[in-house]
Symmetry: C2
Amino acid sequence: MISPSLDEARKELVIGLEARKLVVMVASCSVEYTGRTGSHLGEGERLVIVKGDGCILVHRGRDYQPVNWQPSGCIIQAHANDGTLILKAVRPNPLESLTLVVREVQFLGTFLLQDDAEFILHASEEEMQRAIILQPDIIEPGFKILDYEKKVPPGFVDVYGVDAEGNTLVIEIKKDPAGFPAIKQLLEYLKYLQAPQGKKLRPIIVAPSVAKGSQSTLAKSGIEFKQLTLQKAVEVLQKHARSDQQALKSWL
Amino acid sequence: MISPSLDEARKELVIGLEARKLVVMVASCSVEYTGRTGSHLGEGERLVIVKGDGCILVHRGRDYQPVNWQPSGCIIQAHANDGTLILKAVRPNPLESLTLVVREVQFLGTFLLQDDAEFILHASEEEMQRAIILQPDIIEPGFKILDYEKKVPPGFVDVYGVDAEGNTLVIEIKKDPAGFPAIKQLLEYLKYLQAPQGKKLRPIIVAPSVAKGSQSTLAKSGIEFKQLTLQKAVEVLQKHARSDQQALKSWL
DNA sequence: ATGTTTATGTCGCGT
DNA sequence: ACGCGACGTAAACAT
């Protein structure tokens, strides 16, 4: 619908809301919000999006984030009022409401999106862990893994094993430059772990780098640092994926 | 444009990008992201928004937040490739890139949004402070303000003054239910303040309520609590706005 | 340019 | 339902 009358737009909007379809509207409107705080936006042309799960977004011509919005789970209604189209979105908890006063609609479309794909986010910390587990010698030659996600009272040890001399390695992985929280976390874990008789406990932080202000703290803490970048981790994973494929081929 | 061919869509897209217009597209596409981490989203129908300032949003049929995005300041380009339309958005710093492979376009529109309105957010904490400053007796009768945003080493005291007996009031305002952080903050400030000879120092938290778990801590801390809701604050502000207007009228 | 704090943060997970 | 932490947080602000 291009440049529909307000009443045509209202009817289409109501039908779209009923069917829980995606509604996309470009319109001149003003916006009021009241709830956790309040806001006011005077009249102007904006992109308005209403989704089937009851959320609403009001976007201006710039900026990543919507100028006004309401998250999923709102009650959304449209009705005519005194020559304008009123669009209200009320969120029950916390109670907050968003009201659009629409003066003119440039475009209105409703869509039923067919979309069953799964969204996969590659969490880099997890990939780093998988790379270490697949190929422990990227930490150091002779390193053998005994356990991972090993439970200790304060949480889980990312990787746990022994080095070539039989010392116990306790590895904490961070995807970002390792800072004070990582050090503190690892020290907490150490309280609940001990090396075999005559052997040492070697705490190691594995991360792409050490955070600026934490260099000296790390040095004093007795924790070792081993660099592992995401890129290196991905390389290791791909190498093993290839060899897995090779193995599969030779099996068939 | 309704159900354009991929090539028609590409042309319109390029024109829209050139003109830095808002581009709204409903299309079947798959999405890849690599940068700080990586993500993959298989084919499906989505709403794609490209704004004039070089940001891009990919929305699915549900959820407030986009499934993939790129913030403002990206280099965005569209080109045909092997029977598909490729849309790439590259962010220079940090280096990350978003790639859409578009198979079919249901709708594509470009818009130049006329929007000069100012967005005003009513920060409730600030409004509460203004209400107290305009009418100090909402805290208690006889309260006189000496200063606000008063600098102390750990930060700023929201409101600072004396009660009817000459005791010093130190007020910390919170818009949300006051919890442990507010108590701690106020206690920090107190270290650097003292009452006149023979007078008391009265720390007070002003907030709509006290957080559940902090009731007992607050009681033990020696800090007083005075309820002030946003609604009450807004009432006070409106009353004074009206009296200001009255004064202005009588002046003319 | 870089680090820090805020947000109508939102969202997912555990109790 | 509520509390807590994570996020590709993004954005504003101070350094």
